[in-house]
Amino acid sequence: MTVSSAAAAPAGEPVADEGVRVEEPTAWYDRSWPGSHRLDKVERRAQASQSFWTALVGVPAVFSVLRLGIEAGGELQTTLLLVANVGPVNLLAGFLTTAARLLATALVAVFALGAVFGASVDRLPPGTRRRPLFARWAEITPAWLVLASFLLALVTWPLLYLPLLVPAFVAAFQLRPEQLHERVAPRVLLIVALLGGYAWLLLPTLLDAARQGKPLVVALLALPPLLALGISGPLPRVVIGPLASLTEVAVLVVLVWASLPVISTPVLPLTVTTVGPVNGPTEDVRGHVVTTDDVNMILLQEQGGVRYVPVDQVRAQVLCPSEEELPRYQLRIHDFHVEDSLMEGLGRRVRPVHRIDAACRAVG
């Protein structure tokens, strides 16, 4: 892909155009186009790469702190207690565990759309259209990062949505059926064989979904490979502009919308702790263990509030699942639940027994 020489400068610091003249400082909101502040391609790449890595490190950090505040129920003192006790590495690891799916989705969406827009704009005469934002992002991204994003999506997306990765991948790398084979007959045969293999893999699930009356599941499993056949290639000129703006807004809205549950996902594991004196009545406390020292176990209760439980009063403790983990479908793909990701599905094969402790049921 080549960079259109008419492309405008992205957000940036005041930059000196080397050689001829010194530009006035450019404000971040300055979107004048075609650009009077033409930046050198290499410089733009460096700048974009810098902001990309800043975002990659900064966004999880900010999100993690936000999550602590939400986890603490908005209470300042509780937030401070969590900040004091939850290590940054744990916090970041916890964040990545729950947000990897969202992160992969965002990257895949940007790269796939970016490649589609990029391929479309490249066909137009130079200077007729400003390159859409996603196209510019996709362009400056190294191929290994795009591949890594798809790999991350492959292992973290629920199996039900995984077929969508096929058209996304084909679009991101602009693969075309012609690349399979130069002659038509072998090409068609290859495509039929690939689709046949896919159908063989998913047919029992598709039939089951049809029997259960789940048209969306059928569409999500059956359509994407067919769409992948036609997704690469340039878009008509009239479509590019509106679609680019629409998808930019849509991706942003979806990210905000999808990040809300991620922010409110607990940082600490949910437990039920049985508390009480020896030979006395006991009480079950449902909540998250913040820390344990020689004297107390500090519990952040699920309903709110912090409990300091003397260590010698802790009788038992069990790990509990949360209700957000309940499945919505009763469908499996060769014994892998459709709502499990590949990673989760493989994990369940390593530890197949899922024991729900009685204490998890008893306390609301």
């Binding site: 969508l164 994407p224 769409l227 290639g233 979806v254 309940l326 009763q330 499996r332 369940r348 009685a358």
Partner: protein, 312 residues
């Protein structure tokens, strides 16, 4: 590029269509992932049931039926008791601190449920149409048949229903039981006592010659006196479905009990160790004439639970 001009013209349209459809599918997937499950969950049913938030679960069990429900050295043991423990643990009540076994006699089972002195009854409770008007049943968790137990000295003499009709033999059974009605149907003259234990004591004292009751009950007494009695298989032709009694006012609890019995049934069908099988092997199993599997529970609701994603 070697495409025809028609191909070139249609390609962008196809691409637009594919991109648009993929985006629509992705949006639909996004919305779908935020939906609540359609089916009710175990947790929701628990919240609906009357036991939710109760510190203890009270289960009515028999205390004088060997192998089924018996109080031995202050501890409740038996097949019914083990089934009760499994159901209680599934409902969130595990351990003696959270579980209270209330001894109920045969005739007290329905009043105990109606009066709210127990939350469940697991005590050889036959699921009959008449009883279903007063209490709800979850199950069956066992299917039993009517049998006759004779002392060893008579094991070659009493072999058929015809032999039971012989006035020379005194046949004993417990009052108000389904067995009594069945024997009457076959014109067998019976001596009716309060419970089966009295019949067994009577035979040992020489007052009666045979006792008829359901298979599990007789197996229980056989386990107590293994060298004195033998169970004779007779074709009475009726079978009884044993279920868990639940207050009729609490359909959510009935659904939960049925769901957990079914869970054990499915485990057994999958060839894995089920709580039912463990209970059976530890209690009834060695004493019954033929190996019995867990019967399929009836009217099992579809519920969502945390372990639904686990491999089957």
């Amino acid at each position: 590029m070697n495409e025809s001009s028609t191909g070139l013209r249609f390609r962008p349209v196809a691409t637009t269509l594919a991109v648009a459809l993929t985006l629509i599918l992705a949006a639909a997937a996004g919305c779908d992932s935020r939906q609540e499950p359609e089916l009710p969950s175990v947790q929701e049913k628990l919240r609906e049931s009357h036991i939710y938030g109760q510190p203890k679960l009270r289960i009515g069990v028999a205390s004088n039926e060997p192998l089924m429900g018996e109080l031995r050295d202050g501890v409740h043991v038996g097949f019914d008791v083990e089934i009760a423990r499994y159901i209680a643990a599934s409902l969130g009540y595990e351990g003696d601190q959270r579980l209270e076994f209330v001894p109920v006699s045969t005739e007290d089972r329905i009043p105990a449920l109606q009066g709210g002195t127990v939350d469940l009854v697991v005590s050889s409770f036959s699921m009959t149409e008449d009883r279903k008007k007063l209490v709800s049943f979850a199950g069956p968790y066992f299917v039993t048949t009517q049998e006759v137990m004779v002392p060893i000295r008579l094991k070659d003499k009493i072999r058929t229903i015809e032999d039971l009709r012989d006035p020379a033999y005194k046949i004993c059974t417990s009052g108000g039981s389904t067995t009594e009605a069945e024997l009457e149907k076959h014109q067998v003259r019976t001596f009716v006592v309060k419970d089966v234990g009295d019949c067994v004591a009577g035979i040992r004292a020489g007052r009666y010659d045979a006792v008829s009751s359901d298979e599990t009950m007789l197996a229980g007494f056989l386990s107590r006196h293994p060298t004195e009695f033998e169970i004779v298989d007779m074709p009475f032709g009726t079978s009884e479905l044993i279920g868990v009694g639940v207050p009729i006012s609490d359909p959510a609890l009935r659904d939960l009990v049925a769901f957990f019995l079914d869970k054990s049934y499915r485990l057994e069908r999958a060839g894995r160790a089920s709580p039912w099988q463990t209970a059976y092997n530890r209690t009834l199993g060695p004493w019954l004439r033929a190996e019995k599997p867990q019967p399929q529970p009836l009217e099992v609701p579809e519920l969502v639970d945390f372990d639904d994603k686990a491999p089957r």
